[in-house]
């Protein structure tokens, strides 16, 4: 097949930009991650006006602009699969060896689903509505991966 573009003598500059960053999680995010790390508790916030419990938590309800930062709710470590997909390609930035399952999990007591890894289950056995529970990491990284994954409740 003929090449569409003649690239002879065309110089390509290979570069790399270092863009280090920090992210200030804020007090609400900090409270969530600290509770997860230190007490294996998953926290959400409730908007009384909208009658919704949000997880991950946020300082402000984006629907009604109410200040939610004091409205903490402790959620169960259990919930149900809302939906899922399978990550099949491999790349450096991925948290697991592929294939692995990413699922939207609505924790008991929450109105919004949380994205996390679903494991200890065969892909063909997963169904929306399936009951699951959190498995916490043995070592903390002070990130959302302090929940290592969710697994089906036997």
């Amino acid at each position: 097949m003929q090449k569409a573009v003649d690239s002879a003598d065309a110089y390509v500059i290979e570069g790399k930009l270092a863009l280090p960053y920090s992210y200030f999680a804020g007090r609400v995010g900090s409270t969530f991650i600290t509770a997860l790390r230190d007490s294996k508790q998953i926290l959400g916030v409730r908007c009384d006006k909208c009658n919704k419990v949000f997880v991950p938590p946020r300082q402000t309800c984006e629907r009604c602009m109410a200040d939610l930062r004091e409205n903490w709710v402790q959620l169960e470590n259990t919930g149900e699969v809302v939906n899922f997909t399978v990550v099949r390609y491999s790349d450096k930035h991925l948290p697991r060896k592929t294939p692995y399952i990413l699922a939207m999990i609505k924790l008991d007591g929450a109105d919004t689903p949380l994205v996390h890894i679903l494991d200890e289950v065969k892909i063909e056995d997963i169904k929306p509505g399936m009951r699951v529970e959190a498995v916490f990491s043995e070592k903390t990284t002070s990130t959302i991966l302090d929940i290592d994954h969710f697994k089906p409740i036997a």
């Binding site: 500059i13 570069g15 930009l17 270092a18 863009l19 280090p20 960053y21 920090s22 992210y23 200030f24 999680a25 804020g26 007090r27 609400v28 995010g29 946020r58 300082q59 402000t60 984006e62 629907r63 602009m65």
Partner: protein, 397 residues
């Protein structure tokens, strides 16, 4: 196609500014923005339901997040509303002000909220800004946002001693203003007896540009709410009218193939056009305050000449005679300006917000005591990009 008059008048009806700081670990980006949003809504006595459109802006790459306007919905109030994101570099805040005005003037929206933010401590500013330069010609050579071009120019024109003294006088005046403004990031309490020491001993950055001359890297957010004339009059007794704005840019200053200093700066070009079409023959007499985007004391000093269309050494005399102080003939940056706080995506919008507060007469401790009827605000960005905004107390032009 030339400039056409606006479809309808637009007024500023609310402003909000966070305290500017070198770091805000206590809030995430959306939460910080929310502080300014809440302030602006309270200032205008509005709720988010009254806002038709949200325009959001910051610098690309500076916080290393993609689609920041979407992230920030948690604090910006943009949920379910028409929304835009703008990113025009250093001028972002100035472009946000243009967009707020244009969107409300167009008739598409009656009330538009413009949000500028930056959390410079979360990213690597110089890393981000280096992307501006061409990888083949300039990226390996670029010195980030730092340059001593204005120092070279002033020293060539007026000699090192006079130029250095003028730039440091400008710097100390800005610090004196910053000390009045409770939102300042940097306010050192500099005084005249420190002049010689600072000129000698402030750490050098590039050429004659020293650390003390240069703006800070700040975290903060600013919000300005724009409304159509009819709405503005319903919302507040003290709308500040946006008379006109102009944007001018040229990009060749970083292109090493054609590296000549522009014969006319974008500042002068913008100022000439803006004054001409608004019938202003003597801007120094006309305006009561100028909030300038002055990234360094050298630039601030040099640019006075361009913005006020001055000749010879008139701009130096303004500085040397301290006429640019808050109680002087032509107050520049009663807020302390960009050297006092530079949360880049917000910075130029802060100039507009501060100019509007001066006209309303409620700027706080840095309020100019004389009446302020006509205000000018500028924005600057790389490579040479100018936005000028004119604000008025009365709707009578």
């Amino acid at each position: 196609m030339g400039y056409k008059k606006k479809n309808r008048h637009v007024g500023i009806v609310g402003v909000g500014e966070t305290k500017f700081s070198s770091h805000r670990e206590d809030v995430n980006q959306a939460e910080m923005i929310h502080e300014a949003v809440r302030q602006a809504l309270d200032d205008a006595n509005l709720t988010m339901d009254d806002v038709d459109c949200v325009v959001h802006g910051n610098m690309e790459l500076f916080e290393m997040i993609h689609q920041p306007d979407l992230w920030h919905t948690l604090g910006s109030g943009a949920y379910g509303k028409d929304a835009f994101r703008l990113t025009t570099g250093g001028t972002t805040g100035g472009t946000l002000a243009c967009a707020g005005d244009n969107l409300a003037a167009s008739g598409m929206y009656d009330v538009v909220m413009a949000i500028g933010f930056e959390k410079l401590q979360e990213g690597h500013t110089t890393g981000g800004i280096t992307n501006m330069a061409d990888p083949l010609w300039a990226r390996k050579l670029q010195s980030g946002a730092l340059t001593d071009s204005a120092a070279v120019k002033l020293i060539e024109e007026f000699g090192a001693e006079r130029a250095r003294r003028a730039a440091m006088t400008y710097r100390i005046i800005m610090d004196k203003h910053a000390c009045l403004n409770p939102n300042s990031h940097r306010a050192f309490g500099l005084d005249w007896d420190q002049m010689d020491d600072l000129m000698e001993n402030s750490p050098p950055l590039i050429g004659d540009l020293r650390l003390i001359h240069m703006c800070s890297q700040s975290d903060g957010a600013c919000v300005v709410i724009y409304a159509s004339e009819e709405k503005a009059k319903q919302i507040t007794d003290t709308p500040v009218w946006v008379r006109d704005h102009i944007t001018v840019h040229r990009e060749e200053t970083l292109d090493l193939c054609n590296n000549y200093y522009p014969t006319d700066t974008t500042h002068r070009f913008a100022a000439e056009k803006l004054y001409e079409r608004n019938g202003i023959t003597n801007p120094l007499e006309y305006f009561d305050v100028f909030e300038m985007y002055d990234p360094s004391a050298w630039w601030g000093t040099d640019w006075l000449k361009e913005f006020f269309l001055l000749e010879d050494d008139d701009h130096l005399k303004l500085v040397e005679n301290k006429e640019i102080m808050i109680d002087g003939k032509m107050p520049i940056n009663p807020s302390g300006g960009v050297i006092a706080a530079n949360p880049i995506g917000a910075t130029a919008l802060v100039r507009v917000a501060e100019a509007a507060k001066q006209i309303r007469g409620n700027a706080g401790p840095h309020q100019i005591q004389k009446p302020v009827n006509h205000a000018l605000a500028s924005a600057f960005g790389g490579t040479m990009w100018t936005v000028l905004t004119m604000l008025e107390k009365e709707l009578n032009w």
